[in-house]
Symmetry: C3
Subunit: 275 residues, 3 copies
């Protein structure tokens, strides 16, 4: 893994344009600031491309999409591509409705992305297989386990080759792949699924890390995935010491941990393995 | 009160589709996860009915509604009815504007609901009486007190008979009624009105509890109302021990308490009386 | 500085209509409640003017604007003016896109405001100078420093005379000006820029303070600005004692501090100077 990835984020404060859902938009903005970036949100066709052009990266998240914002996603996405900006796709709920599946496919085709981050169900949908999307969460039959890890790594590599993107497949074990190289990451814990937005937040962090480290998108993405999982671990240790603590404190602690994250903390805590 | 209501929620993880306002949408998602459910938000007409069909319940909240989302509410509502799903209406601000009043009335007529949760002003508006809605909060003249409790119970029963829904009328004292049966619930405290979204969050919890306990919607709704109030009480005790604590810590503590709620805690703490 | 400004807010509970961005809308609602006001959000043209008419003030924030909400801003703004309500403009990102700049200018012209709160870049854009807006944050070259303070005070006074509004220019040092009178305020700290929404929240507080103190908008605005900065200072002291604390705890602590703010705390802690 490359060195000083996080230092470069904190030093350059990458500006990331987010077209994202209104459920977790505040969390995405706050974790972007926490990880060292700077967020801007703009989802109207009247300004989407212009806002993208002043940023270094674009993070498109299709949760709570609508016809107005789909147009903005396409306009901003094409402008970002033209300017060779970092582009991240978070295909929230692809497979759960035709509108989301078709929009994700259209974005893949008409824009193309530097990184795609999703759960197994969503990524299977992008591949064209039937994903078993249960709402916005991956179906249990669709999770990454020690038993199917090899198969999942192969699938992520194939999807990367097909789309040209770094693939970040997140779940109990995370897989990050670019063409023939891949990492399995074992940070994080199940309580993270009991707060909304950990996936959306991670996609924002991926965008910031990649903008600051454009020479090595695979490592930048893997570092973001590990940093998010490690933040979840640090937060859980803190939560255990909090009398009467619960999931909302946990959410606060995760963002806190990300705001304190350094290359040194990450290097010591990350559980990453080349596959 | 029926037993094991909460156990059934945590065991079945009911998926609830929410078409709700953008002010408190994140809180609604997080409390749904905290109480044992699973949230999905989708408010575009292009996917609203389809998303509803993969869920067990639908929670419609008319705060910050607009013409685009009203259409989605109607489409999702009709699909949910057709599939005999649990449907919850939160008529936020009914009486504060013609648009909200008319939309609430239209939803009542064209959809029909399993449960309606609102403050006295909003429910009076649904009845056709002039409610004294002061913005999104009930007017003081419209609160439930020991003095007018009998009258309020009667009103809730009448509104239940008229609409066919379980009525959850929340305020200083909460009244939950279905036809000729009713409960008065005395959990909660006034500080809960100093954070936004306690009502919206409760409606989400009501939906999850009812989806998991479809045989007894009156008890499921009453349990949700009591669990929310009790979470407010537990949070207040914790807040008193927090140096420099204020309303934002209080919000966190309420969701924390809901995430730790069990049938045992509820049974011990709830102050409920059949009327 | 006038006395008892905050007491009047807590006593009268001013109802403020907010048409604001979906990134920080929840924070704005919560800080309005924390500071003693009452928030209502409504952004559809079908109810915007009607909702405004039941309120005492209107807070327009142009972050994440779109064609639908721009229309609502104009309708509500004109109604508020007609009723001589307090009107606050927060020109988030003016200068960052044509749509935002033009909308801000149009609102200035067609509505007019009691108070305008923004960073230097945004306010320069309103003046017609090229602001150096870097996304939604002021460019470093555009910050208020001890060196350029005199010049900035003069600029704020000129902008006040041109627009008729009290100007609240926020940054490292805050300047609040009305025609020939001005204050420089040195509360707050740089960590406040590491959470999203401190500016948006302040605009909400300004609206509440002004509605409750209509006789002296300059002092009411200055008190709101100082109260926000002081909340940031109190929160930072608390954060330093929080093991593993970070930016998300800091956000919580700021709103907590505002919920505990009194005239006495403000008078003791504010660092204000007439210029």
């Amino acid at each position: 893994m490359e060195k000083d990835l996080i230092k470069r984020v904190r030093k350059t404060v990458p500006l990331v344009h987010n077209i994202t859902n209104y459920v977790t938009v505040n969390d995405v903005a706050n974790i972007l600031l926490a990880c060292g970036g700077s967020p801007i949100m703009a989802d109207d066709a009247g300004e989407a491309a212009e806002i993208t052009s002043i940023c270094g990266g674009l993070n498109i998240n299709i949760g709570t999409l609508n016809s107005r914002t789909i147009e903005s996603m396409l306009l901003a996405g094409k402008k970002a591509k033209e300017l060779e900006h970092i582009t991240v796709l978070d295909p929230v709920g692809a497979g759960a409705s035709k509108l989301r599946t078709e929009t994700a496919m259209r974005l893949l085709e008409e824009v193309g992305f530097s990184v795609i981050r999703g759960n197994v169900s969503e990524l299977k949908t992008l591949w064209g297989k039937e994903g078993k999307t249960k709402g916005v969460d991956a179906d249990i039959a669709d999770s990454v386990t020690e038993e199917n890890l090899d198969e999942m790594v192969q699938f992520a590599k194939k999807l990367s080759k097909k789309t040209g993107a770094v693939i970040a497949m997140t779940g109990a074990i995370d897989v990050v792949a670019h063409e023939n190289k891949a990492y399995a990451i074992r940070n994080g814990n199940p309580l993270m699924s009991k707060i909304t937005g950990t996936g959306c937040m991670l996609s924002g962090v991926v965008a910031a890390y990649c903008v600051a480290n454009p020479e090595n998108l695979l490592d930048a993405t893997a570092a973001a995935v590990a940093a998010m999982g490690l933040s979840g671990e640090i937060a859980l240790e803190r939560l255990k010491k909090t009398e009467l603590g619960g999931t909302s404190s946990y959410r606060t602690y995760i963002i806190d941990a990300m705001s304190n994250m350094t290359d040194e903390i990450l290097e010591e805590g990350m559980k990453i393995e080349a596959r």
